[in-house]
């Protein structure tokens, strides 16, 4: 039974990934240099993981010596990976934080198109949840607070007329510049 007791360390998360419904990577981070050091190995693992998980909505799977917890919505798959000896509930809390943060950022519109439109903010959110394998924050509302949202992301109803005009002007300018 030896070796199953975990070394007390804050390095808990081995990786996080968001894949689309073809199993292609939208965003992924691996925190342990010993786990899939090259991007080729990472992508093979992701394909493998996707094939095993995209049909069954089973929330948790053990694959290649890692415990992977996952969640999906419309055309997105969210994964959090940890060592196979890791406390599954801790990993789940990270996954829930990732999903709920993204959901709040996208105003509950959790789908590929929306993620790509706000890719910068989603990147920042992932960075706020896990820093180099250490869980930095597991509370979605505090994560969302930490990734400053742009002012023009405020829903239309809550903006002043001047703000609406300003953003309309900017958008027009941009479409002309393209």
């Amino acid at each position: 039974m030896d070796g199953q007791l975990l070394e007390p360390t804050l390095y808990t998360v081995k990786g996080m990934a968001i894949l689309d419904n073809d199993g292609n990577r939208i965003l992924a981070k691996y925190y342990d240099k010993n786990v899939f050091p090259t991007s080729k190995e990472q992508k093979t693992f992701e394909k493998n993981l996707f094939n095993k998980t995209h049909r069954a909505n089973a929330e948790i799977i053990m694959l290649d010596g890692l415990t992977c917890v996952y969640r999906s919505n419309v055309d997105l798959f969210f994964y959090v990976m940890g060592s196979s000896h890791e406390n599954e509930l801790i990993l789940m809390s990270v996954l829930n934080c990732l999903y709920d943060s993204v959901s709040q950022i996208l105003r509950k519109n959790v789908e590929k198109r929306a993620v790509l439109d706000s890719l910068d903010i989603v990147m920042l959110a992932m960075d706020e949840i896990c820093d180099g394998g250490i869980i930095l924050d597991a509370d979605p509302s505090s994560v969302v607070q930490r990734v400053a949202l742009r002012t023009d992301d405020i829903p239309l109803g809550e903006q002043t007329v001047a703000q609406v005009l300003q953003s309309a002007k900017e958008q027009l300018k941009w479409s002309l510049l393209k």
Binding site: M1, Q4, L5, K40, A58, K112, M123, A148
Partner: protein, 356 residues
């Protein structure tokens, strides 16, 4: 034909992926826009996102390319746009291992780290520590110590986590900043408390007596943060084989079986059964796991049955009490749970259960 197919697919996706088919060289050329004054935050943020996306996709940058992009990026410090600034921090972290002379941004980051904006400070600390080497460490030490005890949880956590990463640069960082970490341990914020405990353990792990003192003190107050509690359980387990106060440590872990957070309860149960104790001593842990087997939450069921499966190898008799619950799990919708339940039953089951 293929192109047609792709277009069709893009239509279905509602416009396709704007980041698909990005060319590394094109994007790096676009990065020259960073040199324009005044900085156009939206445009630059978009280009920077593209670079970060390419890196995330596993695109390789040569040292020259990375350095050039890095230096272009430093120009963006002129802008006060929050999102852009935060993306620059991300860029610094991503490129720090690829580009040369990255310490050029030290002063900009130190300025942001000591500035007023909390949103900048936490992220700037983390970026700064990724480019810090042994020589620079002394220069930022004073700021780091201040940041650890900062009233903003984000800043404090960022500094604590970064000091753990810095252990690679200088082994005794954690020890030098232990006093500040000790103060952060009293924080009301669950994450700060957790991170502080991590740093303190790192600082003292080679000194058995110091760890014993730390654990003993925390056991009395019992940390509020469930993450810190899990960490404390692991520390207690590690001590068990080395000290005389075994009973105290064991009873602490047992008390954790009644913690209000399931995460901690499971951690404690998992620890108890893995300590290789005799059958009688693990009974309370087994009953907790038995309870989890009937949980609505899939992950909880999985965790419980996986642990029971392991215990069954050494203490099949203790697990027999769970046989009925395990039989219910054979038809579980999650195949891993079902498989684990069956293999566990194979070790514990008696003839009487075969018919059912």
């Amino acid at each position: 034909m293929n192109a047609f197919k792709r277009e069709k697919k893009e239509e279905e996706d509602g416009g396709g992926n704007p980041f698909e088919n990005l060319e590394k060289t094109t994007v790096l050329q676009e990065a020259r826009t960073f040199n324009d004054t005044p900085v156009n935050p939206r445009k630059c943020a978009h280009i920077l996102t593209k670079i970060l996306y390419l890196l995330n996709q596993g695109e390789q940058l040569g040292t020259m390319e990375a350095t050039e992009a890095f230096f272009a990026m430093t120009k963006l410090f002129q802008s006060r746009d929050v999102v852009l600034r935060r993306l620059v921090y991300l860029g610094i972290k991503e490129l720090s291992s690829l580009a040369e002379d990255v310490i050029i941004v030290t002063s900009s980051l130190t300025k942001d780290m000591t500035g007023k904006e909390d949103l900048y400070r936490a992220a700037a600390i983390r970026a700064l520590c990724t480019i810090t080497d042994g020589g620079m460490l002394v220069a930022i030490e004073r700021y780091m110590k201040q940041a650890i005890v900062d009233r903003s949880p984000a800043v404090s956590s960022a500094a604590l986590v970064s000091s753990l990463h810095l252990t690679n640069v200088s082994g005794d960082v954690a020890r030098r900043w232990a006093n500040e970490a000790q103060e952060a341990l009293n924080s009301n914020n669950v994450m700060v408390q957790y991170h502080a405990l991590g740093v303190l353990y790192q600082a003292r792990k080679t000194d058995k007596h110091a760890v014993i003192k730390l654990v003993a003190k925390l056991m009395r107050t019992s940390p509020k943060s469930p993450y810190a509690a899990c960490m404390l359980i692991r520390m207690a387990c590690k001590l068990l084989d080395e000290v005389d106060e075994r009973e105290e440590l064991l009873s602490f872990i047992e008390v954790c079986l009644r913690h209000k957070s399931e995460m901690v309860v499971y951690e404690a149960a998992h620890a108890l059964v893995n300590l290789g104790r005799n059958g009688r001593e693990i009974t309370p842990a087994i009953s907790v796991l038995q309870l989890f087997c009937g949980s609505q939450k899939l992950v909880l069921r999985f965790a419980a049955v996986r642990t029971l499966n392991k215990v069954a190898m050494t203490h099949p008799a203790s697990v027999t009490t769970c046989n009925l619950d395990l039989e219910n799990l054979i038809t579980d919708s999650n195949r891993s749970i079902a498989t684990l339940a069956i293999t566990t039953l194979l070790k514990t089951g008696a003839e009487s259960s075969v018919d059912r």
